[in-house]
């Protein structure tokens, strides 16, 4: 991994069209501004990872699980 030292308001350029700016530094929190083309998705890694994991888990559903669930909802609705 490339490691660069930057101060507040300094910028890193990645390729031709991505810029990363150090917007603010306060204690252990750093505000980072990213400007990139729309086609580039930018996410906080922990959220990206969580959604990735949920998608994986969701793709494992079985028809019988979903059928049972739908039955349960019908029973509840009929109460």
């Amino acid at each position: 991994m490339l490691v660069l030292s930057r101060k507040k308001d300094e910028v890193i350029v990645i390729g031709d069209d991505i810029e990363v700016t150090i917007v603010d530094i306060r204690g252990d929190q750093i505000k980072i501004g990213v400007s990139a083309p729309r086609s580039v998705s930018i996410h906080r890694k922990e959220i990206y990872d969580a959604i990735h994991a949920e998608n994986k888990a969701a793709s494992q559903a079985t028809a019988s699980q979903v059928g049972k669930l739908a039955d349960l909802l019908r029973q509840r609705a009929n109460k």
Binding site: R38, S41, I47, Y48, H52, E54, N55, A58, Q65
Partner: protein, 174 residues
């Protein structure tokens, strides 16, 4: 005449899908970047749930649901740049679905409220959007009521509002 695509699926066998019902996710879903085309399959036995079946991969499908059925107040706020990239000009063109994880205990079903699917129904393409808010979790137990207060909801007014903002600043203001 409509073009019909015949696809093989593990779950539903052979499906004949009119081309205009194919929904493209140009970026795929998170973790599934390669599979870009899907079709919504509705079967009475599974209602209100739908299957989002990949037309690229016979083995890949997700269970999805219209969140309004469970969370009438659920609200999706998407960034102006995403409104634009989804080519949404009005709220009526947008359909929001959430992906659910179904477990052996039906009550344990969770919905990913932080990463909903927003679909432009006119143009048949969509995107899995990552909401900037931390109000919603990726694992919301939709059938269990004791979750410490209802979460706030989706209306598309938010999208219109977002559209009116001219700024492309992605700052989430945290």
């Amino acid at each position: 005449m409509t073009d019909v695509l015949t696809i093989q699926t593990e779950r539903f066998g052979e499906l004949n899908v009119p081309k205009e019902e194919i929904i493209e996710f140009p970026e795929g879903l998170l973790g599934f970047a390669e599979q870009k085309n899907y079709v919504l399959v509705q079967e009475a036995a599974y209602e209100p749930f739908l299957w989002l079946q990949s037309t690229d991969d016979p083995h890949l499908s997700f269970v999805v649901v219209d969140p309004v059925a469970f969370l009438p107040d659920y609200r999706v706020e998407i960034k102006p740049s995403e409104v634009e990239s989804l080519e949404l000009t009005s709220v009526d063109e947008a359909k929001v679905l959430v992906i659910v994880v179904v477990r052996d205990q039906p009550e344990d079903i969770t919905a990913n409220l932080q990463g909903p699917l927003v679909i432009n129904t006119e143009k048949c393409f969509g995107k899995q959007v990552v909401l900037l808010t931390d109000r919603y979790s990726t694992r919301h137990y939709i059938l269990q009521e004791d979750q410490g207060g209802a979460e706030k909801g989706f209306t598309a007014q938010q999208e219109e509002k977002a559209q009116q903002e001219t700024s492309n600043d992605e700052s989430s203001g945290e």
